[in-house]
């Protein structure tokens, strides 16, 4: 009986909690300062930490409050929960890097219904769930850059393999899909012999790459489409004594790959300027909240980075960058 009483008490608490603070007026609660909430795909990931660094610079320059939070595990439902929490929190703009397009669009649309501005960066949601997409490169663009770079290194013929984070991650699937499409369309003499997941872990990527190298003696190139896999695969190639014979390319950060690029193990790393991506995203978010950036605009003028083209509803950051032995020392992130 006492237990039921306890439950009743907790229910009362819930009820009083509810009535005690009625919804405050919309807008941010810090003396009218704009609050921008920045959602990464996952936390503890060097790529998004670099985006965050740029975002913080922008936040400081523009005098706004920045929230940065994201999932710490791989469950696809977590991003939705964070967005829904932010809706209740009453932030002004949500800037999301979407882990799964359809799933998160549900939550983003809800945010728009409540008058919160939504933009996406890094990976887009469905077009009706956001106003702008800060486009560092389309999935297609990234996939083509990777595939074309691979073809260039191999002279358009030979076997290659892909190492990705997990089979289920949405962006990985999308890239893989576009890579395979490009391969079928343009490079008939190249064959994709295997696709292996590394669970986003460098150590596992190294093991997978080692097995791939011995299982496919004619393998000429490892394409790594998640950032921990690039150094992992490079180390495997180095330990197998196949430097030069098997090329390594991938999506990654300069700092994690510097030593392999310099040693000539990794041929090229493709990425964009992540800090600029974070900076531009926050700037665009603030402009959208203030009304200085509107749908239909053709350009967006950044305070620190110059002018960017807007194509449709995509703010274009520019082409992906290819880091190689010649230019990698110019970058530190």
């Amino acid at each position: 009986m006492k237990n039921l009483l306890g439950l009743a008490l907790s229910a009362c608490l819930l009820a009083t909690g509810c009535t005690k603070s009625p919804p405050a007026s919309a807008g941010a609660d810090h003396e009218g300062r704009i609050t921008v909430a920045l959602l990464p795909k996952s936390k503890g990931n060097a790529y998004f930490i670099s985006c965050k660094a740029g975002a913080e610079k922008a936040a400081q320059a523009l005098g706004i409050d920045l929230l940065f939070d994201g999932p710490t595990d791989t469950d696809p439902a977590k991003q939705n929960e964070i967005v829904e929490n932010w809706i209740t929190l009453g932030v002004d703009v949500i800037a999301a890097a979407c882990d799964n397009r359809e799933g998160i669009s549900t939550a983003l649309r809800k945010a728009q219904d409540r008058g919160i501005k939504v933009i996406t960066y890094d990976a887009d949601a469905l077009p009706d769930a956001r106003t702008f997409f800060v486009n560092q490169a389309t999935p297609e663009g990234i996939a083509h850059a990777l595939m074309d770079e691979a073809a260039r290194l191999l002279n358009r013929e030979g076997e290659f393999a892909i190492i990705l984070a997990t089979l289920t991650a949405a962006n990985q699937q999308e890239w893989r899909h576009h890579i395979e499409a490009r391969l079928a369309e343009k490079y008939p003499k190249m064959t994709l012999v295997a696709v292996r997941p590394c669970d986003d872990l460098k150590d596992k990527a190294q093991s997978e790459a080692t097995a791939l190298l011995s299982a496919h003696p004619n393998l000429r190139l490892l394409m790594n489409i998640c950032s921990p896999a690039v150094p992992g695969a490079a180390e495997a190639v180095k330990q197998a004594g196949k430097v030069g014979q098997v090329k390594v390319i991938g999506l990654g950060l300069p700092n994690e790959n510097r030593r392999y690029v310099k040693e000539g193990v990794t041929d090229s790393v493709i990425l964009w300027k992540t800090e600029d991506l974070g900076y531009l995203t926050v700037e665009a978010a603030v402009a959208l909240a203030k009304g200085t950036l509107k749908p239909g605009d053709r350009t967006f003028k950044s305070g620190a980075l110059g002018e960017f083209e807007i194509r449709g509803d995509n703010i274009l950051l520019g082409e992906p960058f290819v880091f190689n032995r010649e230019n990698i020392d110019q970058f530190d992130f």
């Binding site: 930490i49 089979l167 150590d203 093991s207 030593r259």
Partner: protein, 309 residues
């Protein structure tokens, strides 16, 4: 036969897989790649030996993966500060032992259930590390890899170290008094206490030891690559528990040997590279891992049902 049924059946299963591979994918047995793959599993073997010890004591430690990450990052940071290897090894082992002692104190001192305690420490260490390091790789000094030796020598050295740990622990468990105490405490703590043993001290030391071994394992991992991934060790607890269980250590404590664990780990570890060699699509891998675990215990279950425990 019946006493070593599980060890024999695991070794038989492993032999079957290897013979099958020899016909279907002889490329699997090229010496250099195989040595590299074995070296990759050396740290896992050390952790699995510790896990077996804890499970024989009728406890469990699911925080080993997080301990592995914490020790790895700490070792990496000390190395990049310029600490020599001779001091890194004791530092890593000590860090692991301290983390193990936290578990040990809570389990043996406060008599809390180990699965819950280590669930809590697993989450706490992992998230605290992420909070602190934000996922940044730790770069190691160049000369640390393979201890400055040639790659082949280094690999043999790491594998030999792991095997030595295994052999010492296996013999110690069989023949030393302390080892017999583990079995006694795991089989029946109350009986062990009445026999004059101190079950709580044994339990505490088992957790400290698994921590220290995890620390040592991080050294074996750090020495074979020039960077430390702060996410390393994710899923290590499940991998090692599966190896221990497939290897025939009873989850109810008091029964099993490290030789079985060794065979169990090899069996599970060769699934992934074997599938790569057999050109099986990666999405079958988890289902096959699960089937192996189920078949291993199924064999035991059927046998027990026939003959009685």
């Amino acid at each position: 036969m019946s006493r070593h049924f599980r060890e024999i059946s695991v070794v038989a299963a492993l032999a079957l897989v290897l013979i099958g591979l020899a016909f279907a994918a002889p490329g699997f047995f090229q010496p250099q790649p195989l040595l590299s793959l074995v070296t990759r599993e050396a740290p896992t073997l050390v952790v699995a030996s510790g896990m077996a010890l804890v499970i024989i004591c009728r406890q469990i430690d699911i925080s080993v993966g997080s301990q592995f990450a914490v020790c790895g990052v700490l070792t990496g940071l000390l190395a990049s500060l310029g600490w020599p290897v001779a001091t890194l090894v004791p530092a890593a082992i000590a860090a692991g032992a301290v983390l193990g002692a936290v578990n040990g104190t809570l389990v043996a001192g406060l008599q809390l259930p180990s699965i819950v305690v280590t669930l809590a420490t697993m989450v706490t260490w992992r998230e605290a590390l992420r909070w602190w390091r934000q996922g940044e790789f730790v770069d190691l000094p160049v000369k640390l890899q393979w201890l400055g030796l040639s790659q082949r020598t280094g690999q043999w050295l790491l594998v030999a170290t792991a095997l030595m740990v295994l052999v010492v622990l296996a013999l110690g468990l069989r023949h030393l008094a302390a080892g017999r105490h583990c079995y006694a405490v795991g089989a029946d703590a109350e009986a062990a206490r009445l026999a004059g043993l101190r079950p709580r001290r044994v339990t505490f030391l088992a957790f400290v030891l698994v921590g220290a071994l995890t620390g040592l394992a991080t050294i074996l991992n750090v020495l074979q690559s020039p960077q430390v991934d702060p996410k390393s060790g994710t899923g290590l607890e499940l991998k090692t528990i599966a190896a221990v269980v497939v290897g025939g250590v009873s989850i109810a404590g008091g029964r099993g040997s490290l030789w079985g664990v060794f065979a169990g780990l090899l069996l599970l570890a060769c699934v992934s590279p074997a599938l790569t060699h057999l050109r099986v699509e990666a999405y079958w891998e988890k289902a096959i891992q699960g089937l192996i675990i189920l078949l291993a215990v199924l064999a035991d279950g059927v046998r027990m049902r026939k003959t009685g425990p």
